[in-house]
Structure formats: C-alpha cells, structure tokens
Subunit: 228 residues, 2 copies
DNA sequence: CCTACCGATCGGTAGG
DNA sequence: CCTACCGATCGGTAGG
C-alpha cells in the first residue's frame, strides 16, 4: 500500500537478477482498512443516497483521501458491489442455515423470520443501499446479486410451504405471493421501526410469523383468485 | 409514449405549428402541457432514478426544451414535489373514502386494501419515485408529504383495529406493527409483480386481506403462539 | 497516500 | 409591454 520507488535501489543491485527481490509485504492492516472503508461507505451511501454521495465526501467521512479509496476499489460501482455482495452473501447463508434446522415447520419458519430480522439489525445501511442502488449496477453484477436474493426467497418459500403443504399443493400459485408478502413485511421494517419502541425485532418477528401462520389457513380456497 | 420526439400526438407538440398572425393567448393548453410534463417526469424519474435523471434528458424524453420545463417549474425539486404531492393527495383521498364506507369491518378492510392496490396500478412510477427521492426534498416539503402518508396510515390503522377491537384494546402496541405489515405487503408489490401473472391485483388484495384478518386472531397474547 | 487537475455534465438562467 | 418559448451558455462540481 505504500510504494517507495525513489528509495528503492536500482536494478543494478545484485538482487536485481531475481527480479523483484524482496517481496513487498502486504500491509497487515490492508484488509482491516478495506473493511473499515466498506462499512463507512455503506453507512454513508445509505444516509445520503448512492448517487448524491460523492467519493470526495465519502473520503472525508472515512478520514482518508479520495485517492486511497481508489487504491482499494477501482470505481464507485465496485465499492457498491462489494457492499452488496458481502451483505447478501452473509444473508443467504443465515437464511439457508435457519431453513435447514430440524424442528417443526412452525418453529422453523418462526426461527427463519427471526434470523432475517436479526441479520438486518446490523445491516440497516446495507439493506437501504440495496434498495436504493442495486438496479444502477451493470447487468452482470446485478445478476450475481439477484441470485443471492433468490436463494433467500427460495429458502423462505420452502419453509412457508412446509407449514401448510396441502393448501399450497391445492393452490400452488399462492406460494409466491405469500412469500413475497413476508419479505414485504420484513423489508419494510426499517422504514418505520424506531429502536427503543414498544416492539423490538424479536417481537416483530413473532408478529410476522403469527400473521403468516394464522393467515395462510384463512386464505380463501373457494374464490377463483384472479386468473387473467 | 414520449420517447420519440419525431411523431408526438401529444399536447406538447404545438411548438412547430405555424400559427402566424394568431395573437399569443394565454395558452389554453398550459395546464395540459404541465400535466404531460408531470407524467412523463414521473415515469422518467422512476426509470432512471431521480438523481441520475438530468433535466436535459427529461426534456428530450418530453420532446421539449429544457427551458420549457423551467417555464413550468422553477426547479427540479419543485417538479419532484408536484409529482409526489399530486400522487399522495389522490391516494389519501382514495384511502379515506374507502375507510369511510359503511360495511362490516371485514368488508371495509378488504375494500380498502383493494382500493390501495388499484390506486397503485396507474401510479407505479409515482410510487417508485416516492420511495427513491422523497427524502431528498427540503424538510418542509417532506413534512407536508409525510402528513399525507400519515393520513393513509391512520385510515388503514382504524380499519384494521375495527376488525378485532378487543384484541387491539388488550394489546394496543400491536396495531402499529400490524398496520405497517400491511403497508409492507402492499408497497412491496410492485417489486415482484409481473402483469399477466397468475396473481393480479385483485387476487393479491384478497391474499393480503386474508392474511391480516386470519392472522390477527392468531397473534399470540402471551409468550407461546396461540394457534388453534 | 495527497495535490492537482481532466473531460463531461450537472441544474439553472442569460438575452432576445 | 406581455406571455411563451428557444439556442446557447453560465458557474460549480461530479467521478476518476
């Protein structure tokens, strides 16, 4: 991370034959600094909006120069991608682990919903950035990230289906809307939740779980739901 | 519709007309032009993101000069505000009208949910712009718009409460999270719904209504979930 | 790891 | 002297 070309001995030195000679040690705190930038950037982008947040102001918020950020990331988009990739990868793993728990379907679904909200706790910024800026990424980057989202949706979908298998085998077209309803409830949470309020994340996880588990049996089977 | 500046059947195309000899009147189509700009802008801001959408490109999409847009609106922010104010005012009126219907609480809630989704049908662009850009408006403008949102939330909240008054008087702190859950489901809809799919807006309205009306009685009052 | 810059483009406004 | 507009360009600032 710090190059000192002027101080380096010339190629005439005896070690020159071996090429680079001494291996440049990668700074011990390289990774730590990169991660610090990543986290600060997520917060900064979330607070100001990705487009309005300039790299210069971000550098200021990080307490480093703009050039340093460009030392770690080749572009603003690359920084955004790393934020979202790190976030969604962790999230997909959490969700799939919770979905693989051996328990009753009810307990597993409740645990999964709880796990998502807990995972969101320390990722409000990343979550917001995702909603704000994911679609401004180049298509191939988007494809990769949306695949991670799809893993989450798939795991949730299976857990929901397992709670009422007969109903969803009778009305399979209901599974996707119900799954998306759950994500709607969860992904909307950060917009109205105020820490310290009467309903914390665990309490809200139970509300969501109760609504879906209590509501699915009430889904009207009789009425022909809107086939176009 | 507005993307092709060559053949515009629109109200904005009077520019090229000869019309010599005609006295300049106060444009009869002034209001029509303003509304055309408003609608095109909503679509354009939704598609490209408010910050990335330049006034120049918007003018191009409208088939007019940038200066003409500034003739109607003093600033980009003023245009954004008019989009959101028009949208949210109409929405608040729709919601309050549906909430005032005389019917059983169940029918009223179902009708309200349906009314919101139908109102969203022709306002996907405005809805998206709201989520994308409302918070970038100056504070006083935000305050005015958030008051409109609060009217919607209030009407929905009352309709939900009326379905299970005893439960919510026993656990009043549940009303807000349940209300927000419903808006989460509704406001998330546009992100996954594809027109022509198996579940259209009316069908989804019924799903949401069933989930909340079936789910609220299942909300656990104590510690363990009360599913019967 | 910074200062010094660039090509381009931004939102907004001039004269006529 | 007005309203309704356009071609051209302003001073600043963006990402890099």
């Amino acid at each position: 991370m710090w190059c000192a070309p002027k101080a380096r001995p010339s190629a005439l030195s005896t070690t020159g034959k071996r090429g680079e000679g001494m291996a440049r040690t990668i700074a011990k705190d390289h990774e730590a600094k990169r991660e610090a930038i990543l986290q600060t950037a997520a917060r900064f982008f979330a607070d100001h909006g990705f487009d309005r947040a300039s790299m210069g102001k971000l550098a200021e918020a990080c307490g480093v120069s703009k050039a340093l950020i460009y030392h770690y990331y080749p572009s603003k988009d690359a920084l955004l991608f790393d934020i979202l990739d790190t976030h969604l990868t962790a999230l997909a793993e959490v969700v799939e682990a919770a979905a693989a728990q051996s328990a009753t379907p009810q307990e597993r679904l409740r645990g999964l919903i709880r796990a998502v909200l807990i995972a969101y706790r320390d990722s409000d910024a990343e979550h917001k950035v995702q909603l704000d800026a994911l679609s401004s990424l180049p298509e191939d980057k988007q494809t990769h990230l949306r695949a991670l989202q799809r893993r989450m949706v798939g795991a949730m979908s299976e857990c929901i289906e397992a709670v009422e298998p007969e109903r969803f085998s009778a009305r399979p077209e209901l599974l996707r809307p119900v799954t998306m309803s759950v994500f709607g409830m969860l992904n909307w949470f950060y917009l109205w939740h105020r820490p310290g309020g009467a309903v914390d994340r665990d309490a809200y996880a139970d509300i969501v779980a109760d609504l879906v588990m209590g509501g699915v049996p009430a889904l009207c089977v009789g009425e022909a739901g809107g086939l176009e």
